[in-house]
Amino acid sequence: MTRRQVWLAAMCLFAAPLAYSFVGAQQPTIKVGILHSLSGTMAISETTLKDTVLMMIDEQNKKGGLLGRKLEAVVVDPASNWPLFAEKAQQLLEKDKVAVVFGCWTSVSRKSVLPVFEKDNGLLFYPVQYEGEESSKNVIYTGAAPNQQAIPAVDYLMKDLAVKRWVLEGTDYVYPRTTNKILEAYLLAKGVAPADISINYTPFGHSDWQARVAAIKKFGSAGKKTAVVSTINGDANVPFYKELGNQKVSAEDIPVVAFSVGEEELSGLDAKPLVGHLAAWNYFQSIPGAANKAFIAKWQAYIKNPKRTTNDPMEAHYIGFNLWAQAVTKAGTTDVEKVLAALPGLKTPNLTGGIAELLPNHHITKPVYIGEVRADGQFDVVWKTPATVPGDAWSDFLPGSKDLTADWVTLKCGNYNTKTKVCSGTK
């Protein structure tokens, strides 16, 4: 051993117990995993959600943490890479031993981590509106199921705007395809002729919308009121709306109702040509009320930007975090089995003046709002459901899923067939 190595060894010997006593003086922390992409295509949407959870943790710690222990965030970056989501999830559950994970945006990332959470018996709060047709014991879905966003939006167009002809325009992946399948079945059931429905898909990040917008214009010129139901996701929205503006498709002629365009997306483009186009969400920043006002103020202070917007998936994380904190307090432990048992039936106020209740199918109750785009990139609410709508995991309009039900309290099953009385899942 050289002299230097001796010194190093000696320092380590001293430092280790010091460091240990420093940590040991406090209760061990409760680890909270955050699984959101901080780089790659989805970073634009998911970074905000990471900050939201960090803010919630910060706030909870100021209140003294949970069960007398502080919360500690474990942030990982799955980099918009779907297989990496599974690896990072495994790391969070097996190496970091987190009590709960808040994460995922796209359905494909959720599908990627699902087997990991089921194998390791983890707990995932998923905050984004999705296509349904799923209910896992280990996932709490705080985003909207199709009956909490797509179906009410179509109802609004049909009843209030007397729309007779439909363009279902989506990005080519699982969420738009499943949602459009449900919507098509729903429209046909409502008596819309197949010739009055046009379904189209474009690739992720599609940027040349000239031909599609011209086709929509042509489809809409058949003399019947036409609307576009857009499940276009991510970056492709900006060139789509720009082209609509350029080709002068106004909201009064052919309104576009979008399921993936919120305040955050609009903050990245000039909203003036979009005025009057619609979006369906369970939360809008412009909705008044003390809870929302306080949340916006807290968020803008935390992110140190007085112009930063809030959006629907942020509210979903807000609800999810509060539900989890409540369940941990109720169960007196962070053990996943006990927390999962405590969760169903819990209630927490949402940001728009209602109550979100966690249902036995691991979905929550949500109000549905339809908003019109304003010139400043915010939304004017033009319609809302009279009461909150319970999330339905299995659509009633698809032949394969209408007999299925999910119930993790009495049936302990995510896909129980009410006709054959069989639970076709593993548990």
Binding site: D208, G223, G268, D376
Partner: protein
């Protein structure tokens, strides 16, 4: 604060509007009847739901009050506001919410009553349905406007939902209308109304008039005349009318299909111009220098962000910002390019794999740098007024201005680049170095300097392409990735080292994908283009315009 106030107000209206919009105006009137005087009616707009507002607006028009038009226009343009202290409804002279204060007019007398801070004003909201009604009502009052453009808009607006009242109005106005364009629209509207009448000669004349129009509404109306009822009989009993209508439908459809072909060609050229623009920078760095520059997309991204920065620096001159941004982006991306070449690429000449990896690394560094400076969120780049909208050639064909400008811009950039390469000393040196480096050096050309300048030139053009892209797509850290593959495809397809190849290749690919897209969908069109390109490269590995001569042998 103003936004919050607006929000508080708007919460009240949707609740009231929930079931009402489905109800007919007749039912809506059954809600508490507002006071009949004009001032009272205007004041009642303050707390009304959307359906109630519709009824109130109709009554405002029916009142015949001289100020009705101004109030309706103000409501349509978000200038009808509620002042917080006294809850009075006023007309603001400007809808700009960024201004600290707004001048107010009394809605009845239209006299100025001073100004009020923006924070104390809440605009009275409208929705799509209400805006449509308002536009129709405003249009009626504008048929007599002195400006022909306003009259034309008014007639077009009225023809969207014609009724007996508008027909009467048009008949009254057509005698005094001297402007041909406006007259033509009026004649169309009247002919459509005549079709519904019982007078056979008038109907035949109407069909005659309509057969020269290309509007989809006209086509639908004529098609309805030749349609069959579900039981197989004709909806229109008169055979002469049917025959005339059928001939008119044929004529209109034929003309429309020709114009739709022209439109597709234009779309193809529009996409092609973008492809050419993103590819010509690469045609220089990759084609002429042989450097596989994976950071080419990020240089475009820098150009797009330069546009954003220029716009934030001159927020009041958006129209001019693009003109400033083009040279600025050329400089920013060009200098970045020179820096990359001097610090990295010059050590890697002749080692394509290492160059590829190194520049890929550079692209990641640039992306993350932009993410750190501007955040991962997309930035909003405004489109100048002169670049939005369409050039309406006729009822069936309109060309979007932004694509027209981009096609022109691409051609100008291409022309300038050719000039630089053919007519300047730098161009001569670039060609000499790319053809035979050793000989060029022997002739006294400082090849290292030429390499840096060539790379800078290619990068600068990428920056200018970024300015164009900022008008079409997202300005975000991933902008470059979306276009890098396309630009390599164009260069390889056109023939490496050939600028004309990039031009023809890019335009061809644009037109082909737009021809395919309506038939097979955007996803499949992309696949088909890629497969076709692979097959083409199999047959002609050197692309459309292969280089010949000694330079070719070296590559």
């Amino acid at each position: 604060m103003a936004a919050l106030l607006a929000a508080v107000f708007l919460f009240a209206s949707p609740a009231a509007a929930q079931d009402a919009p489905a109800a007919a105006p007749a039912e809506a009137v059954s809600t508490p009847v507002p006071p009949a005087d004009f001032a009272g009616l205007v004041a009642s707009l303050r707390d009304a739901g959307f359906a109630d507002k519709e009824a109130i607006v109709e009554r405002l028009v029916a009142s015949g009050h001289a100020s009705a038009r101004v109030v309706l226009r103000a409501l349509l343009e978000d200038r009808l506001v509620v002042r917080a202290p006294d809850q009075g409804v006023f007309v603001a002279t400007s809808a700009d919410e960024t201004l600290p204060a707004a001048d107010l007019l009394d809605p009845v007398t239209l006299k100025p009553i001073g100004s009020s801070p923006r924070d104390a004003l809440t605009r009275i909201g409208t929705n799509n349905r209400l805006r449509r009604v308002l536009k129709g009502l405003v249009a009626r009052t504008e048929l007599a406007n002195a400006d022909p453009a306003v009259r034309l808009n008014a007639v077009t607006e009225l023809l969207r939902a014609p009724d007996a009242q508008t027909t009467a109005l048009l008949r009254e106005r057509i005698g005094t209308e001297y402007e041909t364009r406006v007259r033509r629209e009026m004649e169309t509207g009247l002919a459509m109304a005549d079709l519904d009448g019982g007078d056979k000669p008038a109907r035949l004349t109407a069909i005659q008039v309509l057969s020269h129009r290309l509007l989809p509404d006209v086509l639908n109306r004529l098609k309805a005349l030749v349609a069959k009822a579900p039981d197989g009989s004709f909806v229109e009993p008169d055979a002469d009318i049917r025959a005339a209508a059928a001939a008119a439908v044929d004529r209109i459809e034929q003309a429309r299909s020709i114009y739709s072909g022209a439109e597709t060609l234009f779309f193809g050229l529009g996409l092609g111009a973008v492809l050419v623009l993103v590819a010509i920078g690469l045609a220089i760095t990759f084609g002429v220098m042989g450097v596989i520059n994976m950071a080419h997309g990020e240089l475009m991204m820098l150009g797009a962000y330069t546009t954003y920065v220029v716009q934030t620096l001159m927020p009041n001159h958006i129209g001019w910002s693009i003109a400033v941004a083009i040279p600025a982006a050329f400089l920013v991306s060009g200098l970045t390019g020179v820096l990359i070449e001097r610090s990295i690429i010059r050590f890697l000449y002749g080692r394509p794999l290492e160059t590829l990896l190194a520049t890929f690394g550079v692209s990641l560094v640039l992306q993350q740098a932009v993410r750190s400076i501007f955040t991962a969120l997309n930035r909003s780049v405004a489109t100048p007024a002169w670049m939005s909208g369409t050039l309406q050639l006729n009822d069936a064909l309109s060309l979007t201005y932004n694509r027209l400008y981009i096609i022109a811009f691409t051609m100008i950039v291409f022309g300038l680049l050719l000039l630089v390469l053919r007519r300047t000393r730098l161009g001569l040196e670039i060609r000499a170095v790319s053809q035979n480096r050793a000989m060029a050096r022997a002739m006294g050309i400082r090849t290292a300097r030429v390499d840096a300048l060539t790379f800078g030139l290619g990068s600068g053009i990428a920056g200018m392409a970024g300015v164009a892209l900022s008008q079409l797509t997202n300005v975000g850290p991933n902008l470059g990735q979306a276009y890098i593959i396309d630009s390599f495809m164009v260069v390889v397809f056109g023939g490496v080292g050939n600028l004309w190849g990039a031009l023809i290749g890019g335009l061809t690919m644009g037109v082909i994908s737009n021809l395919l897209e309506p038939a097979v969908g955007a996803v499949l069109a992309k696949i088909v283009v890629l497969v076709a390109l692979i097959l083409f490269i199999q047959r002609r590995p050197r692309g459309l315009f292969p280089q010949t001569g000694r330079a070719a042998e070296q590559n």
